[in-house]
Symmetry: D2
Subunit: 345 residues, 4 copies
């Protein structure tokens, strides 16, 4: 099977290349960029010299449709909503890594993204690709909307509690932390080394655009869930997300039962690893992999649960989950091409 990557010069695109280069059943047919066409990919990413020989091509939808079976659009929000329908109309399958097809309600999109949402036709057909909790067989799906990085870590962490109604629906607080690659490759004050190194910042307090995506899914799982409190912190590290989540427990329970709940919830999911009681995950323990590691604590003094989940934002938070979804579409083992061992330390 042949695929194309559009937006190959961003970090998400580069990570797709890293994964697909060694995928046993899929090959990268072409890579595309709106600005660097005609240049070899290793001009943008010298680490790919001798590894990937592709030259960046412009985005010729007809040509792409003739040559490949599936396209990854690793393009920014606002660009995807213009490009994706063209690709779909040619009969291509698309896995979109932007935020453009995640929110079913276009007014919510506009409120949080400050731009117009995509067309309602394709939006209504898009499947939100939180792979472990897909609610349908996606082998016939045309468009997968790949979840946001923070949303992935958070939703995988909260799912067992929300689906099983263990917690107070009004009490969810999410304190999220990310490495700097989350801000992309463009140079800015946010990504400036001297401003970020050896420093800790909080940003987008109650304003992050992944908030409505998290709330939409939580509501699907349990219509009683209220808006969440969500803030994000910039950690002086390259990759990795940790989501620390707090909620009041309403059911009578204890730490053993909670761990049992999590283990059962994810027992068939290779990529979600529940830690042993008393052991908490760290971001480096999933570096370069598609794993989401989760642990939790229950405080009897406060009757509150603390859930911790970590992912590599470029893998399970972007390219890794996209390939996992591609595997599902192809009907092959979801682990195919994704059996990386974490690069530690």
């Amino acid at each position: 099977m042949k695929v194309a990557i559009i937006g190959a010069t961003g970090y998400g695109g580069a990570e797709l290349i890293r994964i697909l280069k060694n995928h046993p059943e899929v090959s990268i047919h072409s890579i595309h960029s709106s600005s660097q066409q005609g240049k070899s990919i290793h001009e943008s990413y010298p680490h790919l010299q001798t590894v990937v020989g592709h030259t960046l091509e412009d985005i010729d939808v007809n040509k792409i449709a003739n040559e490949v079976d599936l396209v990854f659009t690793a393009t920014p929000s606002g660009i995807s909503s213009k490009l994706v329908p063209e690709l779909l109309n040619k009969g291509l399958k698309v896995i979109d890594l932007s935020g453009d097809y995640r929110l079913k309600d276009t007014t919510v999109y506009k409120e949080w993204y400050k731009k117009d949402a995509g067309d309602e036709h394709w939006l209504s057909g898009a499947v939100y690709g939180l792979t472990e909790w897909l609610e349908e067989d996606i082998s016939d799906t045309k468009l997968i909307s790949n979840p946001g990085c923070f949303a992935t870590a958070t939703l995988l962490g909260l799912a067992p509690l929300v689906k099983n109604k263990v917690i107070d629906n009004h009490s969810i607080i999410i304190d999220a932390k990310t490495g700097v690659t989350g801000a992309g490759r463009n140079a800015s004050a946010m990504t400036h080394f001297s401003e970020t190194n050896d420093n800790l910042k909080i940003y987008k307090v109650n304003e992050h655009q992944h908030t409505p995506e998290i709330e939409q899914v939580l509501s699907n799982w349990n219509t009683e869930v209220s808006p969440v409190t969500f803030s994000t912190h910039l950690i002086p590290m390259t990759r990795g997300i940790m989501s620390t989540m707090y909620a009041d427990v309403t059911k009578e329970t204890n730490i053993d039962q909670l761990f049992e709940l999590y283990q059962e919830s994810y027992q068939d999911n290779y990529f979600v690893r529940i830690k042993e009681q008393g052991i908490f995950p760290s971001t480096k323990e999933v570096l370069g992999t598609n794993f989401c590691d989760i642990s939790l604590a229950y405080d009897e003094r406060t009757n509150r649960v603390t859930v911790v989940s970590v992912i590599d934002n470029l893998m399970k938070g972007a390219a890794g989950q996209a390939v996992q979804n591609m595997n599902k579409i192809l009907g092959i083992d979801e682990k195919s091409g994704l059996e990386f061992v974490p690069v530690y330390p």
Copy 2:
């Protein structure tokens, strides 16, 4: 005035030296260590070569009492409780940077510190030195118990809300983050560069020994406050603490009123800086100084407040606040010797 520093080879001791070296009204008479006596301080800290000429001395309480007016004990918990009474009994004033004299209830101490508390006599006389909220004139106080680093950032952030009964007493959640100097100078897995760099860990979930200290002070301010949820994260940076705090608002309020409350609460406090609305602090903005920078957000969707406070853990979180307390004891300007401009970037 002459002072002695006991425990000068730890990071807290070294930071006391950095401050007091240029203090206009106090001089370092002697520095002490239980293990390095006879060695020059620059063998432990080469950066002090030519700056501080002192040789480390052993801890001879009589000699110290004859020569100085006040002692800083930058010694570990469990050591201070043995050493401090000896110093006090000789008539010295003591500012203790350990946890040994912070908790008034010795059973609580034992529960969280896993060792025996200090004597009740000196414990009952000790003043908890959260300088901005001292409840008495300390010019006659013999023993100041200097607050913990997390407790300082957290309590300064929560004080206006708790004292003014703005929030639900059962709803306080504290998500704290620290740089690695918080773990001290001893080499361990926790402080190993290869395990910590480019990594993010959570540790001591609901188990950090600063929890009871925070709860004790909150209860003093408002007896209705319930136990808090408190977790700590290890950030790959050297210095700095950020405390992100969440609570449900019970009073009708808005963001303008909340900022006004904070500005009024701290209008006479040079070392607490309330940011402008919409601007949040970062740890590097207080590096090397005694400042605590605070900002907050109020989410009308959830009726919840998010407070963010940052300090340099070795300064306002340890040595800086200790000197601020010393200034108060001496009856001089609390800023004396502490007017550092942040080292940025």
Copy 3:
């Protein structure tokens, strides 16, 4: 084919596990540790939970000899020299990652390592495994002595110049830089985050134990080469070595000819990548891979060449090259199990 790893809890051992877990022709039969036997490997390395199920075993040479074909000894210098002969005497093949079998002259070993060298019998039979420059077929070799990390980066960088007598034999200066994993997993002042982060140190000026190893190989290539100047710097990063090398050019040449020389020298070597003229390598561009990236500059003003070579110290500098050597012994493609794409950024 089955292999055992002795010293599996060090960083070199853990990296062997990462590689061999997915090796198509070899499986890890057992892993061994002198101190952690009976414990699961994921107690030492939580990132291996669910990935590698092995329990650490003690070092029973007879049992190992009965069960596996080849052993990696990722043990410290001084330990290998005791252990390796026992394994060899049982008929096992050994790839030793320590410094114990690198120096043919036992007095030189003692001078630089400050301990006694291994036995001369096995020493004389050991092959120095700088894979690209192996001087013999190693399919019958019993003992491969895997090169030091600094030696690998340096020798691959200097080989074309020294073998082709382009430079003044007395003029070689090597300014080497390493990430902190080079110092191993033991906690020490050298590996303490607070001492190393945001800091740059030089250490072992003219005293690094890889010096004689470099000189031994250079002398084999060209008997006229004098002792080299070699210093090492500790960079606040986890992995990676850069060797910046300077030498006076004696032949008439120019930058085009020098690049041609390097390209020809390594044209059949997948793992050595010569950069394009004017492009210099960075350590992250080889992260997690067995690549050595090299570039160079020639200054007509000084008639001096500057060669820059980078490796991942745990891969081409340790475990990666060890597996490359294992592949050579097995007579399979040297790339087998090593076709990682760099993890960037």
Copy 4:
């Protein structure tokens, strides 16, 4: 005495503010920026909130000349050469932190800076402000050209050897390393956190614009010195420069004599600290200060000396040395306002 800072929003300007805020004999009268006039300095640098109340002003030369005695121009190369003559013509004294007045030969300037040099009149009158080696009384000097950061570390390290003709004039090799603040505050690929963190790069091999400045001064000291080999490395840290220098020794000497030479050379210089034999400096040991720490090694095997010198690039490499020069002009103690203790760790 009143001073103005032009270019206050760059890192050099911000560091001048940090120093001068607490200077006992000088006050900051006004700060200027070509792009941010009318804004408070704490909009650019939030850490200055409550510390410095100045608003950025435009650059009105007449107004400045009426109000202050001396101006620091922390402006980029190419800008200073236009601005500085205007200021000087109004009778102001100027300390220029750019490269525009460092090179006496305008063709050399053009070759390395790729732009036109400043006017020859003021150029010939400018004094190169390597403070420890000033060759004249500067109390009447109108224009001080403040040295480059790499040049400062390198020249202080080489001075005793070159002035005393200890080394081969053709053998000088300088392997320099810098933190990322050396690249300024503008966001670029070079300063992007994700590209720089946990990474090590070499750049400007034989092409750095500080090369001719180093060579000009070395030639003044000893006309026989040949062009030097000079390369620069980007270290994943915020501040700090280390210059590792290599040269062949021609005089008969030994390590004791060499240390004696360095100690004597700098015995009257507070800001140059010669380490003890066997102890090497690290960049963090001078953080936030005007110190230059130097050590060296002599290898009898190669007859070569290795000199290591470290500075804080924003202090002794820029703003610190600028204030030191200002103190000299004023005829006050060169340490005035500069007695910082290093911020360690």
